[in-house]
Amino acid sequence: MDHPRDSVFESFVIGALDAADSEAFVAHVSTCDACAAKLQNESRHELAIAEVHAASPKRVLPGIVPAKRRTAAWIGAGALALAAALLLFVLGRPRVPVEGRTETMTVTAPPVTTPIPLVVCRDGRGQEKCVEEAHRHGLFVSYPPWAKAPPLGGGRSGQGPNGPPFVQQM
């Protein structure tokens, strides 16, 4: 008969076995003297360890990541990933010279401390596409002062997806 490994005894007493494994384990140790004795010993150790915990100074758990902060971190990471994706999309496009210029638009990487990334859409052939992409990703659009008026101006480019002002004039 195969006896359970030592780690299985430990897993059982700390409650780490799933229902099926636990059932099989109990079935075995209930009929095996050697394993029953081993489980008795392991259970006594577990109770002793619980006693150590009960006697240890109570402490607040500073290392535990609160759910709210974790969510915020994920949102931040998501926004950063979106900005990076947009940057890759924009930079990866073929560059078409327009009226002597070699670049149709520039995207600024969001500073780490800025919660909502800003996108600069210069005038030119790519501006409309740039603004549309930014809208699609829920990003703010900033027009540099030297750029022409936004072609999508008015309500459309002036509002974010949820209503608040979306396009900033730098």
């Binding site: 897993s11 700390i14 209930s30 006594r44 109770l47 002793a48 915990h53 758990l61 535990i64």
Partner: protein
């Protein structure tokens, strides 16, 4: 949950359970069930019978609470006492049967007399002090894992892992490392 808040929560649940509230019982059974089971196992009760006794214990306590027969409810103490009482009844019955057939049963041999094994002391004062010092020497993250898991015996490891930002495997590995250190310190 801060320590004080957890104590308040325990008291609230216990009071609800004392008056027969099913949800409160579910929570308390999840919280204390393993401790009751381990106590029986530590006393030499066979695992399958220990599980049955634990079930009978909770069923008896819930029934008493619904009958309004629980003046005080202190857990896990009351459940442990009830479970030990059942296990001793078992042992006596087995001994009587064994005497009748001149064959002592394994279970009757295995159960330890409660008088010889104090209810709540599994470890000497000196061993406890050594273990507490060892716990202080563990890395802070490992102590956090240990505290979280032992503070919340009803917390699934998956949930504990989520709270600590670790994988379940890493959480269990950390927990076992701390247990091994404490165990070694107690056996010194």
């Amino acid at each position: 949950m801060p320590v004080r808040g957890k104590i308040d929560e325990d008291e609230r649940l216990t009071e609800l359970a004392r008056t027969g509230d099913a949800r409160a019982w579910d929570t308390l059974i999840a919280r204390h069930g393993r401790r009751v089971l381990l106590t029986l196992l530590a006393r030499g009760v066979r695992a399958n019978r220990a599980e049955e006794i634990v079930q009978e214990t909770w069923a008896r306590l819930v029934a008493k609470s619904r009958d309004g027969a629980l003046e005080r409810l202190e857990l896990p103490g009351l459940a442990i006492a009830q479970a030990i009482h059942f296990s001793l009844d078992d042992a006596r019955a087995n001994k009587a049967r064994a005497a009748a057939s001149l064959d002592e049963s394994d279970e009757a041999r295995g159960v330890v007399d409660p008088a010889a094994l104090p209810l709540d002391r599994m470890v000497s004062r000196e061993a406890l002090d050594r273990a507490l010092q060892e716990l202080e020497r563990c890395p802070p993250k490992a102590r956090d894992v240990f505290t979280l898991v032992y503070d919340n015996p009803d917390l699934a490891h998956v949930e504990a892992a989520r709270k600590t930002g670790l994988s379940v495997q890493r959480l269990r590995q950390t927990l076992c490392e701390v247990r091994a250190r404490l165990r070694a310190a107690m056996e010194d």
